[in-house]
Amino acid sequence: MKKIININVNGDNHEVAVRPGTTLLDLLRDELNLTGTKKGCELGDCGACTVILDGKAVNSCLVLALDADGKKVKTIEGLAGSKHLHPVQQAFVEKGAIQCGYCTPGMIMRVVSILDENPDPTKEEIKKALSGNLCRCTGYTKIIEAVEAAKAYINGMEQPEIEYQPQKSALDLSVVGKRLPKIDAPDKATGKALFTDDLAFPKMLYGKLLLSPLPHALIKSINTKRALALPGVKAIMTGDDVPDIKWGTSPPRYDENVLAKNKVRYVGDVVAAVAAVDEETCYKALQLIEVEYEELPAVFDPMEAMKEAAPRLFDDKYENNINTHIDHHFGDIDLGFAEADHIREERFVGNRTYQNPMEPHCSIAEWDNHGRVTLHTSTQVVHYVHHQLSRILNLPLGNIRVIMTYCGGGFGAKAATTTIEVMSCFLAKETGCPVKMRFNREEMYLFGRGRHKQYIDLKIGVKNDGTITAVKHKAILEGGAYSSFGIVSAYYAGSMLTTLYKFANYKYDGYRINTNLPPCGAFRGHGCPHPRFAFESLLSMIADDIGMDPIDIRLKNAMEPEYRTCNDLDIHSCEFTACLEDVKKKSHWDSKRGNLPKGRGIGIGCGGFVSGAGYPIYRSQFPHSNAIIKILEDGSKAMLYIGDADIGQGSDTVLAMAACEAMGITMDRISVVSADSDLTPIGFGAYSSRVTLMGGNACKMAGEEIKKQLLQAASEILNVDANILEAKDNKIYVKDKPEISIPWEDAGFAYFSNNGPLVGKGHYSPPKGLGGKYKGAAVGTSPAYSFSATVCEVEVDMETGKVKVLNFWDAHDCGTAINPMSAEGQAEGAVVMGMSEVLFENEVFDKNGKMLNADLHNYLIATSADMPEISSTLVDSYEPAGPFGAKEIGEGATLPILGALANAIANAIGVRIFELPITPEKVLKAIAEANKVNSDS
């Protein structure tokens, strides 16, 4: 029964009727429509829901609304005045502390309370005080900087200037290469930015999925009668009610059903879907659905799964549960190993990790009366969702509109279509009402698509001088129940090992195995981080074996520009050596190496990635990125329409910067509309670190087309030849006589008046025919490759095994950084995420395949208190294929972290740990075993 409460929110008194179970968070969001306060975990673990209750910061998800009766609440909406941002908000915007922005409102409220309690906290105090607010994007670095800046604002102190040496390739540019705040940052800082779950439509229903409690079973019957009879339930759908069509991510491996048909393959597989007036009713209805299962034997270990007698997940395919097998051989490894003076082979094991974007997935579908469906969704890939819905709903693309709202991070978790995107459409059709579906944190883990756990046997041969002569690599990827991206992951695991070091002989054997666990997919660095961890570890071990400095062995083999790898990948720009030299110098490698006390260690690791995949996920001839720029009739604003998705990485800003540079206008003259299939031309979305290069090229091209037309218009006004004109900084002027000029907008106005709309179009397709001719040659191709190196220093508690990461010194060749502040943010975020994966993260299952840590309480990710000092450099580099010389940094920056940290730990404790995560328990065990060996010998 509802009770009336009185609550004062941001100074306004509200009298509201609430149910006993309603939390303060739900009251704010659902009843008072104050959606700035976010919902990340619902269990007190993430801090996204932080508000100030009677002067104290609390997690509003753990406060009953009824308990807040008579109290005062301050939320993010109450912080800014009508004209000015609060100093903390201002600092977050300026310092680049906001990426996806989902953690931001809670984080800002917490910072406000920190500074209220202590106006002058030290950096260490800030790190500790913020540790209840998780951020998956920023690596906390810029957040801490923002707190320090806010402190200075509030106390009226001087702001320390940021020292930044611009890259050479950006020196002559006006917009590109500048450290600019993201255009969406103010909206994200004030809680104004709407994420999918912040939207509500009239008559909107909620939907929920019934998940399998068993790891492997036949469905004998489903009885929905009792559930349907529950008041408030509007529809229930099972496998019989949805089309019999297989879907998934890569076309050769479409193997998922919309809802289970006869069989479930893991704890979390989708059995049925319910729509009801609210989520609570959905949950109650789910409990009333009676499913009769016949349990089948299940298999969770990939080695077991490959055995002859193992239970099969699919009767009609994937013999021995081998979902994908790859057998690549380039050069001749027998010859290569024969040439080697030293050969070493080791087994490395990765961990099953989950992206954990702070925003849970959410989708809302609504049909109009003309047979069109509109889906608002939190996705990285509007186009692939569009394409997949068109297949499943059997509708032309034109009858489906997919709109990406603000997206609270993805990292691969939202890089393909989800069940709720599909089922919200079906339920909305069935009920005739808009239907919202969202995952809670547990459901996110169960939907899965995180990192494959890889078992890697790696063998490297080198000459005495360190030259690599051959590499043999066998990887077994534990893939979970369905394919998802897995086939691509398995190819990437092999193909990307060749881009950092030059070697001619390489063999890769890859197996992706199905098990009765949540499906694995693409997680930042897609398939590559574990093999890279193995490679970087083994290379450092080999360097030790042959008495060579680990950085020297890397320099010896380092990739160089304009090189074709043994597996036919074309490297163009490459400043890998500069990265290595930079980190060597700034970490004081030479003086530290070998001279640190026991328990302290230093290690090097390197990485690199594609700047966008050379080929799309399904075969199509569409350009990969497309842009339209439309100039307003008075020339005052450029509207950029771009299909690619800003999931927090900052692509709206970066793409706008590329467009502005090309047009000759400043950033205040542009507005961006992105990722809406009705409004924006197709873009493949945010995956494979593709947007800066591909989207950037499309925007640059569109901008150039605008400029060309404008210069023509200006030439008529100025009565000079168009080709002696230039556009820059909102002016059009004669190149040699800049004093002869007209304002940019005047030319725009004139153009429109004489010719009608001023529009520029741009598109980008990777060069045709990238890569070799062998099977799988497409995976790993890209117009450009990034490179990076990082040195890590750690301190290990030799008695408990706990690792404290002190420093990361990293350097990146990302070409020209279009927005260096965003590029650094990507690097810092990658450092902390990579570190978190190495030290903490692992999905754990019981013997029945039920995940034991599907939350943020037991699946730990790094907090601000765990954060090391990070010093990132963007080296001088120019990539001819990229816009203004740019290439990627988002995914590549993760790759060096794993190996560097593992190497630093090995250096600190004197033994190597081959299996991730490197927990204190493993460290202590390794130390004990090493001591035992030492004392035995």
Partner: protein, 295 residues
Amino acid sequence: MYVSDFTYLRPKNLEEALDLLQNKDDAVALAGGTDLLVELKTGVRLCSHLVSLADVEEFKFIKEDEKSIQIGAGITHSQIMQSSLVKEHIPALALAASKIGSHQVRNNGTLGGNICSAAACCDSAPVLISLNAQIEILDATNKKIIPLEDLFQGNKINTLKKGQLVSKVIIPKTGKGTGVHYEKFGLREAMAVSVVSVSVMLKIKNESIENASVVIGAVAPTPKVSVAAVGILIGTPTHLLVEKSDPILRVSEAAVGDSIPIDDIRGGAQYRRDVLFSLTQRCILKALESAQKNV
């Protein structure tokens, strides 16, 4: 996620609260909610009546008398950290409180809720037990005082009966020469549940240990006094208590001997023993240091 149906009751004072808890079926007290709401949302617990202690002002005090510090069950961990009485007399409790969850959790989570949840890994109990703290238990008709230790029955099981509330924790004041320290080991720097914890109380007289307590946490179903460790400590000359000295190692071994850890997602039993061994040594030295300062 949602909280299943229940009736919400908000008594205006202690008397009403006790009455409701006694007379309503399946009634559960709600303090800060940081444990209870998690349990209700994840469905591991159901209740039909929730009795909010929000207005029970009688539980919200920290005071002292000649012999003890008394902390009301409704005091939050943040209030403990800020209390000048606590900082002066039981700094180790302020330290333990600072290691609980996050700032937000500490702002709502209460001392009463922490001990009544009776988790093996609970962070406030070890220090309190090492100080021989007692609790006052009330119901509609009775009042009794028992050692805090006796509240714990098993992991997440307390010994309270229907209708009972813990009203306060009574911590005896320690004399000169006493030092207490708390060590917590979690898997990350903050917001981590204890994998192992230890609280050590030492009282020095005439350069030797006159009285001691060693309480180990997260290594048994309940926080536990290591009787064996205490036995070795008492009578030991303080100059022998130095890093890796024989008595320190023996005390730590004894603490390990008294532990009955389990394997779980946070660590194996053997690992817990290993960490307990190291943590106990550190904790003794720190406790000794503060005892020596407290002359």
